[in-house]
């Protein structure tokens, strides 16, 4: 079965519907599926719910879909870098479900692993716990969180082979593997598609069973907070 497609628009063909739930990889602007987000914008699909740790900045990442009002709801842990997001949220135009970062990551991982719910200490005694099942284990209180199964996962990896085995690079891995796992369909954009057999089987970060469609493209890879030190201050 052919997994490699020629463009982001081709790879998303037939997969996008209004009001769908999309899980997206990335942390801040690091490791985000920027090409697929661009193609989703062009498609005009709307009413989207995104499970994504962040919402990008105003003109990059999921931010570009906020500008066009294609997003109905965000399931995120931190959204502080996006003025348009804040405006839409405070105006009641955008729904937000805040999830603790680790809870969000585990919800994706669990959903992809066939686990519909799990118990965690995170958020006990806070407003995150309101309305959730509480259960004591060994004298400690936990709350139940649900696994996420998304209609579509969009992720960014460094390299793929044509069978969908993925390798990520440094901290650009972040939410990409759990997001990929929780999608009913997963589309991946990579910097390089390498021949089958050229990736070390012991060093695959995400096996191809989770990956359905792949594109290769040029990435801007914008840096959000460029922080440096002087050479002599080592």
């Amino acid at each position: 079965m052919k997994k490699v497609y020629g463009s982001a628009a081709e790879a998303l063909d037939g997969l996008l519907t209004d009001d769908m739930l999309i899980a997206a990889g990335g942390f801040g602007l690091c490791g985000i599926p920027e090409l697929l987000l661009g193609a989703i914008k062009e498609s005009g699909v709307k009413g989207l719910t995104f499970a994504s740790n962040n919402a990008g900045v105003d003109d990059f990442g999921i931010g570009i879909l906020l500008q066009t009002k294609q997003v109905k709801k965000m399931i995120s842990s931190y959204v502080g870098e996006n003025a348009e997001f804040m405006r839409q949220y405070l105006a009641g135009e955008l729904e937000v479900e805040f999830n603790p970062q680790g809870t969000l990551a585990e919800r994706m991982r669990a959903g992809g692993a066939g686990i519909p719910g799990f118990y965690t200490k995170t958020g006990v005694g806070t407003q995150i716990a309101e309305g959730k099942e509480h259960k004591d284990f060994d004298g400690q209180t936990y709350i139940m969180e649900r696994g996420i199964v998304a209609d579509l996962a969009i992720v960014k990896a460094w390299k793929a082979d044509p069978t969908g085995n993925l390798v990520f690079r440094k901290t650009a891995r972040n939410f990409n593997p759990p997001a990929a796992m929780c999608g009913k369909v997963c589309v991946v954009e990579v910097e390089e598609i390498v021949p089958t057999g050229s990736l070390d089987p012991d060093s695959i970060h995400l096996p191809g069973v989770y990956v359905h469609r792949i594109i290769q493209g040029d990435h801007e890879k914008r840096i959000e907070q460029r922080t440096t030190r002087k050479k002599e201050s080592v």
Partner: protein, 209 residues
């Protein structure tokens, strides 16, 4: 007289023990890495998926794929390991991280911590803070003792939505160090030039002996 930001960070660095894996929050906690005592080897965890965080890169060597949880460009070390976010929070939730040092808007005498939102005003999200305070073995807060209006941030009970309930072990402020104990807070030490009376007067929370 009181401690400045760097002195607070230096005091917080005295909390570190050899061999620990530690998570440092954004702001003053990040400065703690500048004051790690000689002979103490700690590994810094960045919750976006890295153990063994290095210094900021030299100009021109920034890598968009290598950032910390504050989205700042950083560098790796020879012992660095990368992993995904679910694995990262597995080690946090699983108690493998010895200590988190983080900032706060308010701390209460029972160890309640608020640092993620001001209703109607500031809605950024909790990021990884709720997972960290619930999961790591020891939570140390580093913050100014009072807010910009001069009101104590060390309270009988928090007024803002909580990040964690009864999670804080130790509070380091510009005025001194306080531990959360049965019945309230216990003064561990006063900052340079600060008397115990001044520290008590600046603190709304109950101080026990």
């Amino acid at each position: 007289m009181a401690w400045d930001r760097n002195q607070m960070a230096a005091r917080a660095a005295e909390e570190l023990q050899d061999g620990w894996y530690v998570n440092l929050g954004i702001g003053i906690p990040t400065l703690v890495s500048n004051y790690i005592p000689d002979g103490i080897e700690v590994t810094l965890q960045s919750e976006n998926g890295m153990l063994g965080m290095g210094a900021f890169p030299i100009e021109g060597e920034e890598d968009a794929d290598l950032i910390n949880a504050g989205k700042q460009t950083i560098t790796e070390l020879p012992q660095t390991a990368f992993f995904d976010s679910a694995t990262s929070f597995g080690m946090i939730r699983g108690g493998k991280i010895a200590m988190a040092i983080l900032g706060a808007m308010e701390v209460a005498e029972n160890g309640d911590l608020a640092n993620w939102m001001v209703p109607g005003k500031l809605i950024k999200g909790m990021g990884g803070a709720m997972d960290l305070v619930a999961g790591v073995q020891r939570v140390v807060v580093v913050m100014d003792h009072a807010n910009k209006h001069g009101d104590s941030k060390v309270l009988k009970s928090c007024t803002l939505p909580l990040t964690g309930a009864a999670v804080v072990d130790r509070i380091i402020t510009n005025l001194g160090v306080l531990d959360v104990v049965e019945g309230g807070l216990r003064i561990v030490e006063c900052a340079d030039g600060v008397t115990e009376d001044e520290l008590r007067a600046a603190t709304e929370a109950t101080i026990v002996n």
